[in-house]
């Protein structure tokens, strides 16, 4: 078990009457890449600023490497931040920008020069020492910001939506760059984003945030396969959420009544109790289409279909009006808008269980 590097203990924060963080607690272990994922306004940036020391929590404590740093100012914490707009100092060149932290610490000039050079080669910006920030492209500024933070060997590196301003292609490229940089440096990364793809691609663990609370903390794959709430399910990947009444269970399979008819589906994770209502989360790739009726299948009409990135997505309307999505790899021309089809479900997960503490297996 790796050591805990950062510990948040019951953090609360309000701005005026508006409480933005509710009892936030979290342990982050050394070398971990952890992502806070949530829509804008969910409190993730506030939390990052509290970890950096730029904001003080109303209550609760922040521990860094076992030491209580709650009331330490940002300049006394061994934590560095990469800001959303990079915040490069416009009046300093790349070398001075990157070496700023070392200069503050009183490191010798020749030593700073050497370490800046190393850092620049790490972020693949050799020879950019004398450039001014306004002469750099977005991606280059991004790298300078990373170098400027990482050169101080922080125990934790905080990244506030650092890829938000880049175009899609560069963003994808920088995702792999960041991940490999994190592996090279061995520094704990705390990453903030509202982009689920970014979170899924890079993180060891993802914390899904909603309205100042943690919705779920899990690895990307578990988050996708076993979402605990409908919010997580729909925020991470495509999910069909169907309300159902559980009729009976048979092994891992349940029979359930939905307003569009009775279905029979395999449940991943803990089974629901019979005679209760439940919300079924069915990933679009687990929705199977057929032209032939079968038991436990529902009749539906195809409303439209689209083929993008090798994924065929078909939208269907069930008899009660619910629209669900089915997806499948590879081009499939069997179903067209207006076709009547039969829908069955390969597997589902129960979300929004009343007993939220119950562990998924």
């Amino acid at each position: 078990m790796k050591q805990t590097i950062l510990k948040l203990d019951n953090i609360n924060k309000s701005f005026g009457k508006n409480q933005v963080l509710h009892d936030i607690s979290l342990d982050v272990s050394e070398g971990e890449f952890i992502t806070f994922l949530g829509p804008s306004g969910c409190g993730k940036t506030t939390m990052l600023r509290i970890i950096a020391g730029l904001l003080e929590p109303d209550s609760g404590r922040v521990f860094l490497g076992g030491e209580d740093v709650t009331s330490l100012p940002p300049n006394k914490r061994n934590v560095n931040t990469i800001f959303q707009n990079y915040a490069l100092f416009p009046h300093m060149n790349v070398e001075t920008n990157i070496g700023y932290g070392l200069r503050i610490k009183g490191v010798k000039k020749t030593e700073i020069k050497k370490r800046v050079k190393n850092m620049l080669s790490l972020v693949q910006l050799e020879g950019f020492e004398k450039k001014m920030p306004n002469e750099l492209s977005g991606g280059q500024r991004q790298r300078v910001a990373i170098a400027r933070a990482a050169i101080n060997n922080p125990r934790v590196l905080l990244l506030d939506e650092p890829l938000g301003a880049l175009d899609l292609q560069l963003r994808r490229y920088m995702q792999t760059e960041l991940k490999s940089l994190q592996t090279t440096l061995g520094i704990t990364f705390i990453y903030i984003t509202h982009d689920q793809e970014e979170a899924m691609n890079m993180s060891d663990r993802i914390v899904v945030m909603r309205d100042g609370r943690f919705e779920q903390i899990d690895t990307p794959s578990r988050l996708y396969d076993y979402p605990k709430t409908s919010f997580t399910a729909s925020f991470v990947g495509m999910a069909n959420l169907i309300n159902a009444e559980i009729l009976s269970t048979n092994g891992d399979t349940v029979n359930a009544r939905t307003s569009a008819g009775v279905i029979s589906v395999l449940i991943n994770g803990p089974l629901p109790d019979p005679d209760q209502s439940a919300v079924l989360c069915i990933r679009s790739e687990n929705v199977l289409l057929s032209k032939e009726p079968a038991s436990g299948a529902l009749a539906a009409d195809v409303t439209d279909s689209a083929y993008a990135n090798g994924l065929m997505t078909t939208h269907l309307r069930l008899s009660d009006g619910t629209v669900i999505a089915a997806s499948k790899y590879g081009l499939c021309t069997d179903f067209h808008a207006g076709d009547s089809v039969f829908v069955s479900f390969a597997s589902a997960v129960i979300v929004d269980r009343r007993d939220n503490n119950e562990k998924t297996q």
Partner: protein, 257 residues
Amino acid sequence: MNKKLHISDAYLILVLLLMYLPIFVVIVYSFNGSKLSTVWGGFSFQWYRNLIHNSQLMQCLKNSLILAFLSCSVSAVVGTIGAVGITRIRWRTRGFLESVCIIPIMIPEIILGMVFLAFFSFLGMKFGMLTLVIAHTAFCIPYIFMMVKARLAGMDSSLEDAALDLGAPPVRVFLDITLPLITPAVLSGTLLAFAMSLDDVVISFFVTGPNTNTLPVKIFSQMKTGVTPEINALCTLMLAATFLIVILSRLISKKFK
């Protein structure tokens, strides 16, 4: 070809004439060889020569320069600190405080002069350079304050956060980040204030002492005995200095953009 003179062009020319024709007349007469201002006596540097040898006027010029330099130096520091301080205030009184800091520009000068006269008399202060510097500093501060405040408002606050985050204590953040970024505003504000101080008559008239006549006050008092052509030369020189300062301040703010 469109050679028609539009109304807007005519209007512009009229306004410019109104503003610059009198100035132009003074400049021309400063090179007039004749002693009578109504007669053109040929081109001459005579009045400039006389001016240099007029020790009284030269002393006044020296006073004015010293005064402008001192009051601008003090108000540059005070105004800058004020502007930096006020942007850190997040409470409601901020708007009120800002108005309080800028109002001295809008108060009629004659009232400011009276106020200073009464105040210094009340304190029993001897009128001279010190009272002049205090009064000039008071009306110079708003110019610098406004310039710096505008610059700070346009500055990305995450720059200061980033410096703090990189380990700089607040004093270093100010010296390394904030100050270099607001320097152009401080300079152009100071130059503006310098020009204001250099040509102030009204306030100086109230608070000056017997031996510290400033140049504008001296020129004003000479009005009673009639304007000598030397004054034309002097005015031309001061105009040149003012234009130079304005151009300099424009260049500074342009360079740092």
